[in-house]
Point group: C2
Chain length 278, copies 2
């Protein structure tokens, strides 16, 4: 029966579990490294630890001491009677309250596994067939996966800047979206939001607000938004399922204008939702 | 005590666990949606299910029937005595063998949570302070996080094309890396690999091969690599911790040349590792 090292002890693989509320499960807030074991000796652990520490700094996941990692790998390799093997360390952020917006308040979960090295003879002989994928993250554009660590990193950066949230910018300084909210700028009777083609998340609240706003007297435009527009417009509002429609106060420390349009939009949206639910 | 809906039944939040070998934990291969509950009624579930199904198609995670999701939300909202709430469904791919390269062979894990809606009065009143983050995924460039679903998507795409792996292309058709391996092209006595500034993962095997190759008579260059170079060069090789150095056979169905350089490089790399371990 394969054994797994989990938080300091060996357990059977089938019994190794982590909390469903681990921020690694919910947000992909975790780090990992895969290493090769040659005749029982792990190769280049120090190099892999350097990369783990680089990640730890950005996404706020603590890394155990090098000696503990080395011991865990030795133990799991020995417990599974392995000589030539693959080994992997996975560190997740740990669990927190049921409300997923709350930070983790439990220690990280550390999982170390090892398995027999595959036979690569045929792979070396035949070589691999590759397909190319163009366009960066395009396959994932608009999907809401648990690989959400970009938003985690945005929140970490915002927190360190004593701000509330981060706003991702795209090419040529275009404004895209916040870590979990879509963005609109208000210019007179118009509300303008970046089009989905910019690679943003197709927010459900964004779409419903676009349907509701004309009834409240606003013209809706889907157009690229620039950073300078944020400082020139009448108001910057954000949308999310939980917060509905809410205003920005500052961007990079600079005040943005507030004319109270957020209240009108929120009231119209809220009323439309309650109407539809009745 | 907060209750969580997990795979068809309500459990106390502290007892809700998923396997440590769940591909959601290991690779961020999962989907989620967050919705608002108004006086016990969830809003826009159908819209959120559309997005779940869009993700399911790309990253190979099955989505439960709409009626089951609706029932789960109702149950968890009622079990926690909630009226105005947030609710979230998380679907992970499920667990598989200890060898993380193997696909999941267990069913997905479905987690539905609900929690009291936060009081947003102050948020609406004050507005949020934002910081901007430029440069797309730059904060995460070079980090190896469990938010690895881009690689999962690449493998799904490769499998559907009856290929072995996917090769990500960057701007202007530049070749970056495979889903879990770095890339080199061989041109005579030179081996060329894209620089880290292209946003690729700083592979440990890549770096060691760069140190070893000169001793085997090769000149190492870090330079952008174009797709046409792949078809013109003497050989395309890939590097990973487990596979060490291995050759490509085809790219997008077209043969690439193979002059056996992979064997020389692999032998030199392998010998250097064994030397260093002794």
């Amino acid at each position: 029966v394969p054994q797994v090292w989990l938080n300091g002890r060996l357990v059977e693989a089938a019994d190794a579990t982590v909390p469903a509320l681990d921020r690694g499960v919910l947000w992909g807030q975790g780090l990992f490294e895969t290493m090769r074991v040659y005749d029982g000796r792990v190769w280049a652990l120090d190099d892999h630890l350097v990369r783990l520490h680089a990640g730890a700094e950005v996404i706020d996941v603590p890394v155990p001491e090098a000696s503990e990692v080395a011991r865990a790998i030795d133990e799991v390799v020995a417990a599974n009677d392995l000589k030539d093997a693959g080994t992997r360390i996975t560190i997740t952020r740990g669990s927190g309250p049921v409300d997923p917006q709350a930070d983790a308040d439990q220690p990280p979960n550390v999982i170390v596994t090892a398995w027999p090295l595959r036979d690569y003879t045929e792979l070396y002989d035949k070589g691999v067939a590759l397909v190319t994928i163009a366009g960066g993250g395009r396959p994932l554009a608009g999907l809401k996966t648990t690989s959400y660590v970009m938003s985690v990193a945005g929140r970490v950066i915002a927190k360190r800047a004593a701000a509330d949230d981060a706003l991702f910018l795209g090419e040529s300084g275009r404004v895209l979206e916040a870590t979990g909210s879509n963005l609109f700028v208000v210019e007179g009777e118009s509300i303008i939001t970046p089009p989905l083609e910019e690679g943003i998340l197709p927010g459900v609240t964004r779409r419903h607000l676009m349907a509701v706003a004309p009834r409240a007297g606003f013209v809706v435009r889907e157009e690229p938004v620039t950073l300078s527009q944020l400082f020139a417009c009448d108001e910057v509002v954000l949308t999310s399922s939980l917060r509905e429609v809410y205003p920005a106060r500052t961007v990079d420390g600079r005040d943005v204008r507030r004319l109270g349009v957020d209240q009108k939009l929120r009231a119209a949206y809220h009323a439309a939702v309650l109407d539809a639910l009745d």
